[in-house]
């Protein structure tokens, strides 16, 4: 499965890119995170504390145990600071 993976705010800065296309067999967001962390140190560091990270699948805020079946876009970001 091919996914667009997006990073925002300090996650974008630590990983060093705003988005990338990822070929993955991950069934859930959590599995995708494990795959990314295994890639390189900068990913491992960025995803070290998942309590500080939020995730959206296809632009809907969701949880790390969410299934990726039919997903096209996964975004990772810190807690939002709008308003």
């Amino acid at each position: 499965m091919t996914l667009d993976v997006l990073y925002f705010a300090w996650l974008r800065e630590r990983i060093g890119l705003p988005r990338e296309t990822v070929e993955t067999g991950a069934a859930t967001v959590a599995e995708l995170v494990e795959e990314l962390r295994a890639r390189e140190d900068r990913y491992d560091m960025a995803f070290r504390d998942l309590s500080a990270i939020r995730v959206a699948v296809d632009q809907q805020l969701t949880e790390f145990d969410t299934s990726l079946s039919d997903a096209r876009e996964v975004a990772f970001f810190p807690p939002m600071t709008g308003g």
């Binding site: 997006l6 300090w10 974008r12 632009q59 975004a75 970001f77 807690p79 709008g82 308003g83």
Partner: protein, 147 residues
Amino acid sequence: MRVVVQEAPFGAGEEAERLAAGRADMGAVVTFCGLVRDTPDADLRYMEIEHYPGMTARAIEAIAAEAAARWSLGDVLVIHRHGRLAPGEAIMMVGTVAPHRADAFAAAEFLMDYLKSRAPFWKKEVTARGAAWVEAAEADEDALTRW
């Protein structure tokens, strides 16, 4: 309902007037504007607001629709800026129009509470000492439980 996500400044006064124009059935307009506040311990040069272009308008529309479902409202307005903003500039505005003020006030507070922690914006403060992402406050998350 009108949701606007833009880089450019907006005119809060004109927007407030436009909200209530021609609405003789409405008795109340509540507006709130959020401004870029200077940082207490270092002079703020500017604030940089990042957002998630695909998701932002949709997330705000869902919040506004929830407000419209909970209170008796004639209209809802949300304007939120992104990009580089100087101290004192308006970041965002919510406006609610309702037959009665209690609904207009409550809906405006609800909108603000949800925009704080459920709309995909991230603020970075750039001062003479460097740049730092604004951390989400626990109180902002707690504020959602009252709704």
